[in-house]
Symmetry: C2
Subunit: 588 residues, 2 copies
């Protein structure tokens, strides 16, 4: 093999006259007037290589080439004739006239396209992932991911953060999602668990005085895969001592600003917007609003204060509200059939129904005949123009807001073109607890190590713990919860109060988190942190539809890998060593 | 909490007069003439804080402090009196006179020492790892590791390497060590395996045209832990396309040179020494020689060519050799009892015995009375001086060399002080195959994707495959195999030859490595790579005895974590979901 002097993306007009060696893949072959033009491809780009029939032996050899052959060529860089210059190709002003060729390896016809956007089934793309990854778009995604990761590291290193690895073979904790388990052979009957996050370890690193920790780390959740989740996913995980939320915000803002500018050229504001949880629910009906689409919720209860329409007035009398949002220009899209679909969604969210108001040359509404005047006022209040549609809902304030939020999200997902740009904001002051309807008990909304608002704690703990706010925060980008974190509890008295409120006995608490509680007896510092979902962040930046497009070797929705065949059966011997039996009788 | 204006390691004489806030741990408390001196500690260093009895309220509060309390103090930076300056402390010229104090959290008496080298049992240190990690020595180790890792990344990034994550939930391959298994819940009866290395994936990334890959990645081996191994360990893994071994050497040499200079100040040569496998066995009896200790093996067969001592002459007549090495100055240490131990070792390695020659004012030897003249010649040939001892062995050349190699290693480990400095070298031209005595078959010495020497392959494949050399290489530092890699096979015909030689049928090969073989049908580029053991590398640089001292949360020798209690029992529900039963009947 002759080693390359240049890669396939770097030759320019200034190189004309040089003798070069290029290595790469045959991307495509054209025959023009008896001359063979081979487009040679590698990670760095494309270069056109010319085989002239005058060199008969070489030309014969070139005739044997097929797409995806790996070759090494030596040749002379020549300026392309004026009419052959390709301004879209960085190397488009030159071509290399081959003087020798060696075939490094051959290729069968690939089962998926490499040099055009392949619309093959994802199953096939994953089975031949090594071919799928040859596509420039996929390579750009992985390169973007690499750049984002390196920029994040550089930024954190400069702020005295230490990258520290935490264990992958760790202890199963029956909190949160389902653990992946790893049977222990040396201790039969016992299991390790793969970490859902390094949460406890990073808090212990703070107790250890390491001050500032980060890790770009795989985490694992054995969920029923849906909604573009992966059983293994990557987090940018960090934790800091002697800080509060403002310090975490400052670090993350600087970090993402640096990473985005460096990797994508996108400029972010120095400070991200902030919205409390209550504000977000009020304005968008969601704690992860995508504000690029506008469509804020408006309170229009006052308009209906003295309505004669009983459905609404009776709700208002019992403390209900009327809220609405406007969708510009989609009145005609919302046929009766489509509105019915949205009404079903609204009902599934606990609403009695969904009221609509359209302006299609004239005012139309599902309640026009009951309260025409109020409908007119709503249209005016929301500044509706011809072609707009408004959805209105009635009932308990939070229920109405959240239900309209779902309606709004469906509109964004299904009726509107994808918005441009980046909308990034912090959501703060989350509720400390939520009520688990199934189990009829209070549970921690974030996790039980989150610091509550201490004023709220003393005010509401005995009367209405659900009113207690926490010092948890989320980072939301384009409607996705990209990050989640909190100031942590570092005082045992507060931790005990929280465990009591979620009904965790001392014994249970000790069984689950004993080593963390033990650690907190020996001078834990105040600390706070956050974890960001790297896969989704990169997918947003890459404009990818799925996180699978920014992961080199992802799993399918059922958690399998069509390429390697994982998961797969294992031998009797392996099961026997682990002292395990399968329930269908194998392994006995 | 008042936030720190400075950390505990940064105040200097130039800061005298400033009012500062420090946060940290109470390292120790001294009382001198009624004044309280508190040494405050954080990751960055120590600062002395002074509490004067004149401020009564503050002083009273200071009286309640104990070691490992976390406090925040505000105070004024003052120059220390001349006689109180501590030149060993970076902050030793100043002290901070406290004006306020707040206790952020309290501490019980720690069960292990934090501020001195703790000689507690390792079990206890691991149970309270968060306290163990407070010790400055442990923090230095983790900081060193961080620096090494960042320097490696920076170097590789600059050379166009892409950091790409490979899967952790992957397929079990019955090659190499034992896999850790992860039962699949969605596909009951099937298992993922944790990767022993990303070998196949990194080769697939080369097939995918990603050109240069690296990853600092956890790998997993379910071995019987001994000899300072960990079930999860970290590799610096890299792979390159269109290269040969020289390119890999150049990258690794540059990378380690950069990392060591940046993280430790140690300068490495631009090019590392190289030794073939045969040379290393010949000179040191080992393929991972630590040359800092000298003690090369010498061939002294010629001296015994016409000896009358039958034990030796009969061996020489049947093709045997006589080899020896000298240990300076340890003649008197090697008592009869100690020599007996070494003789046992030699016998366990297949030697008939171990001959010794000492100079203790006079020439002494176990064979002096059989061949005194030859003994004299050996002493002269090896330049033995008064006080030296020589070990001599007789037999088949490779057996003798390797057995003396073991003897030499035991001498290094048990009789000599630890050598200074770094000895780094490449071992090349490893045998392609070795003979598995138990299973009476030929197996791949490195792995079956290693490119053989093609001349050797055609010359010996039918007659003596064990003579075939491979294009595998190891990087050896201070007697440890730190890195291992090879040029890979990228041609199917060669791959098939190798599978045939190790007795792998097409069917078996397909079952084990089918997806790699399939990938190689579509234009794989020539490629080569290496993986380096990061834990051991950092341990060597840190001067640590065990890799456990450079891992934040390591496991014990039995694979457990005394802190979290992993591995642990899991619930019936978890087992049921996985359709698993334990062989002792649990889970039924």
């Amino acid at each position: 093999m002759e080693k390359r002097t240049h890669n396939c993306g770097e030759l320019r007009k200034k190189d004309v006259g040089k003798e070069v060696v290029l290595n790469g893949w045959v991307d495509r072959i054209r025959d023009l007037g008896g001359i063979k033009f081979v487009l040679l491809r590698d990670r760095y780009g494309y270069t056109q290589v010319v085989f002239n029939p005058e060199d008969k032996e070489l030309y014969e050899k070139a005739l044997s080439l097929s797409p995806e052959y790996v070759i090494s060529i030596r040749g002379k860089v020549m300026e392309r004739p004026q009419d052959a210059v390709n301004p879209k190709m960085p190397t488009g002003e030159i071509e290399v006239h081959a003087v020798s060729l060696s075939i490094l390896s051959e290729s069968q016809t690939p089962p998926i396209y490499v040099n055009i956007d392949d619309e093959s089934s994802e199953e096939l793309r994953l089975k031949y992932r090594y071919l799928d990854l040859r596509r420039p778009k996929m390579q750009r995604n992985l390169i973007l991911r690499h750049k984002v990761v390196q920029a994040i590291r550089r930024f954190l290193n400069n702020l005295d953060f230490l990258e520290i690895e935490t264990p992958v073979l760790t202890k199963s904790t029956p909190e949160g999602a389902r653990d992946f388990l790893v049977p222990s052979r040396l201790k039969p009957g016992k299991f390790y668990a793969l970490p859902q996050s390094p949460q406890l370890f990073k808090q212990l690193l703070m107790v250890a005085g390491l001050d500032r920790y980060y890790q770009i780390v795989k985490c694992y959740r054995d969920e029923d895969f849906r909604a573009d989740r992966q059983p293994e996913f990557t987090q940018v995980d960090l934790e800091m001592s002697f800080v509060d939320e403002e310090d975490v915000f400052e670090v993350v803002e600087g970090m993402l600003k640096a990473a985005l500018e460096e990797a994508t050229g996108i400029e972010l504001p120095d400070k991200f917007d902030r919205m409390t949880y209550d504000e977000a629910i009020d304005q968008y009906g969601s704690d992860r609003p995508d504000r690029r689409y506008g469509m804020e919720l408006h309170d229009i209860t006052d308009i209906f204060k003295s309505t004669g329409f009983r459905v609404i007035s009776s709700s208002i009398e019992t403390g209900g509200v009327v809220r609405a949002f406007k969708i510009q220009g989609l009145a005609s899209r919302f046929t009766r059939k489509l509105i019915d679909q949205y009404t079903e969604l609204a009902k599934s969210q606990g609403l009695g129904g969904l009221i609509w108001i359209k302006i299609e040359n004239e005012l139309k509404s599902s309640i026009l005949k009951f309260c025409g005047e109020e409908v007119q006022s709503v249209a005016e209040r929301l500044g509706a123009m011809n072609g707009d549609i408004i959805f209105v809902a009635v009932g308990e304030r939070e229920l109405v807001s959240k239900a309209l939020g779902k309606v709004r999200e469906k509109v964004i997902a299904e009726e509107l073109p994808v918005a441009e740009g980046i909308d990034i904001l912090w959501i703060t002051e989350f509720p400390m607890f939520s009520f688990n309807e199934e189990e009829k008990r209070i549970e921690a909304e974030h996790h039980p190590f989150t610091m509550p608002d201490l004023n709220d704690l003393s005010r509401y703990k005995d009367t209405n713990p659900l009113k207690i706010k926490s010092r948890a925060y989320d980072l939301v980008i384009n409607g996705y919860e990209i990050g989640s974190g909190s100031v942590r509890i570092h005082r045992q008295d507060i931790q005990n109060e929280i465990f009591k409120l979620i009904g965790l006995s001392d014994e249970e608490a000790n069984k689950k988190f004993g080593f963390l509680l033990e650690a907190f007896k020996y001078g834990p510092p105040p600390h706070a942190g956050i974890a960001l979902g790297l896969d989704r962040l990169v997918a947003i930046l890459a404009g990818a539809n799925s996180i699978r497009d920014v992961i080199a070797f992802p799993k399918t929705a059922s958690g399998s890998d069509p390429m390697t065949g994982a998961p797969s059966e294992v031998s009797q011997q392996q099961l026997k060593e682990l002292k395990l039996m399968l329930m269908d009788g194998r392994g006995e």
